[in-house]
């Protein structure tokens, strides 16, 4: 453990950890903590999406499918087949990763809108399967009585305990995500995103890297899913709605596309926002997507540059730099 604390040097993540360590003190009811838990689970899932979309450039709009596969797998194994919870959780993540490998195959030949609709179709197929395979998943009636996680004889059911577990997982996964991003794997993913042919000529195995990106994304989402199953205690088919995939995607975009820390913040933020903004009702969604359009379309770097120039030139009377 000590090794990790020494290595978490980057300030943004420390800020995040501190804010969220103190947060429960301000949340006065259990439901708020439960929402925060969901937010942290989403944040973990978003990390995977950021690696896949923000860095590798593969648009994945069926992300919630991996979350659901992880959640339902662990639920079915631990409840229906009495598999010990930790093993069921690991299996859940593994099964999610296998589906991730499967989804990576179309990415070898497809790109852009083709791939994105492929992921939508994938998400839809998973959704249809969850809804229709009632005998397995409980379908519209939901899946109840998921066993609690038991660690060293202590059954984890308190919402506050889960909060700290989920926070630790989210922070840990963010560190892992950043390490991947700043390694040669991360650079290779950026390269593939931009120019596949040039990347291949530089010695990067495109298929291997894409498969890696998809496994990453399904790993993080699957992990989030298995944790969700055991802290929520039940699963409903609302989990697999395509809206949730779009939400995850929006979180990735608004967090700065390739910023893992940004994804953490928006992951929690956009999960909590609908709850906080209940008074805004339908306006909330409209404003949200309007903001997404603003974020993408407005040339922010140009505006900040122009603003800086105006401040420097007009107000501080610095002379214009000679180029």
């Amino acid at each position: 453990m000590k090794k990790y604390w020494y290595q978490i040097k980057s300030k943004p993540i420390v800020l995040f950890s501190l804010v969220f360590l103190i947060l429960p003190l301000f949340l006065n009811n259990d439901y708020a903590v439960y929402v925060a838990n969901r937010g942290l689970a989403n944040a973990t899932a978003v990390i995977g999406l950021i690696l896949l979309y923000g860095i590798a450039g593969q648009i994945s709009l069926g992300h919630v499918a991996f979350f659901a596969i992880g959640a339902y797998s662990t639920a079915i194994l631990s409840a229906t087949h009495s598999v010990p919870v930790p093993i069921a959780m690991m299996c859940g993540i593994l099964i999610s990763c296998i589906f991730g490998i499967f989804l990576s195959i179309p990415s070898f030949k497809l790109s852009g809108p083709f791939l994105s609709i492929c992921t939508v179709a994938f998400g839809e197929v998973i959704r249809q399967l969850v809804i229709n395979m009632e005998w397995l998943t409980g379908g519209p009636y939901g899946f109840y009585h998921i066993p609690k996680l038991v660690v060293f004889g202590y059954s984890i059911s308190d919402v506050h305990t889960w909060y700290y577990i989920l926070l630790a997982v989210a922070v840990l996964m963010a560190v892992v995500g950043n390490r991947i991003k700043h390694s040669h794997y991360g650079r290779a993913l950026y390269a593939i995103n931009e120019d596949e042919i040039a990347a291949e000529v530089m010695g990067i195995n495109i298929r291997r890297m894409k498969r890696f990106a998809f496994i990453c994304s399904s790993f993080f989402a699957g992990l989030a899913g298995v944790l969700y199953a055991h802290f929520a205690g039940y699963l409903s088919q609302d989990l697999v709605l395509s809206d949730n995939s779009y939400n995850l995607f929006t979180m990735a975009v608004l967090g700065g596309t390739d910023s893992i820390l940004g994804g953490l913040w928006t992951g929690v933020g956009l999960t909590a926002a609908p709850e906080i903004m209940r008074f805004l009702q339908v306006y909330y969604m409209l404003i949200l997507y309007f903001i997404v359009l603003l974020v993408v379309l407005v040339p922010w770097s140009k505006i900040t540059k122009d603003v800086k120039d105006i401040i420097n030139y007009k107000f501080l009377h610095k002379s214009k730099a000679v180029i």
């Binding site: 450039g57 648009i59 709009l61 195959i105 179309p106 030949k109 497809l110 852009g112 809108p113 083709f114 994105s116 609709i117 492929c118 939508v120 179709a121 994938f122 839809e124 197929v125 249809q128 399967l129 229709n132 042919i197 395509s242 779009y246 995607f249 929006t250 975009v253 339908v282 306006y283 969604m285 409209l286 997507y289 309007f290 997404v292 359009l293 993408v296 379309l297």
Partner: protein, 296 residues
Amino acid sequence: MTISTFFQLLIGGISIGALYALPALGITLIWNAAGVFNFANGDFVMVSCFLTYTLLSVLHIPFIVALLIIMVFMYFFGVVTEKIIVETLRKDNSIALKSLVCFIALSLFIRNLARFIWGTTPRTVKNPFGNNPIVLFGSVYIMPHTFWIIGISCTLMLILVFLFKFTKLGIAMRATTQNITVASLMGVNTKWIIGFVFGVSSIVAGFAGALSSSIFYITLDMGVMFGTKAFASNVIGGFGSPVGAVVGGLLIGVIETFGASLISSQYKDLITFALLLLFLIFKPKGIFKLEVAQKV
């Protein structure tokens, strides 16, 4: 299965297929002209459906007039979308990715706007084509809307073909599609043309919506269904090929109708999505294969 059932299903399938083919055609138009994928196309259809509902069931405007109003509205809707998203991103390096994100956001925005205006209750429109089945031959009964849908769709497609092949505007459009720089050098107002193409694509989607409203429940989620099926039509027929879009659409309509009757209507959508996945994985270029060469 009797012959008459077969024909009934076939013609029904073609009719539904036409409804998928129209937005698919719209996607192809925009893709060829501007190089962007209108992810929100399905939601354009949805908006047109709700609009038809308001015009027909609430304001009791006759169908023909409603169609005209929808055409005008959708045209401007399309042009405005183009101005906001495509114009802004024109000079951007990663226009493909960014425009996709924008259209996804637009799609969700439109859906929520529709929810805001019309609420979440599914709507229905009284069938403007009447409910008396027409006898085709033998014991084959076809509902009038089937004919009307096929007829109107065909007419629309023929008009488009005429526009593209035989008018000066059509030639300008095709030139813009193939080489925007040279086209503008030749005096074509390419900025306006791309807006126009968006407008035409929206009108086509509008027709699909207006016609669909007579047979489907109008819900907020229709957009996803239409969008994905239109895309499936494109993929199966060959992305970028207008003929492919139409053929693909008809194929999907027919397969879906037969599948619903033979297997189960519950799994109808699953069949289409599975088919789409299979095509994307194994035959992404579709039936009318299009080679896209990349210069190294």
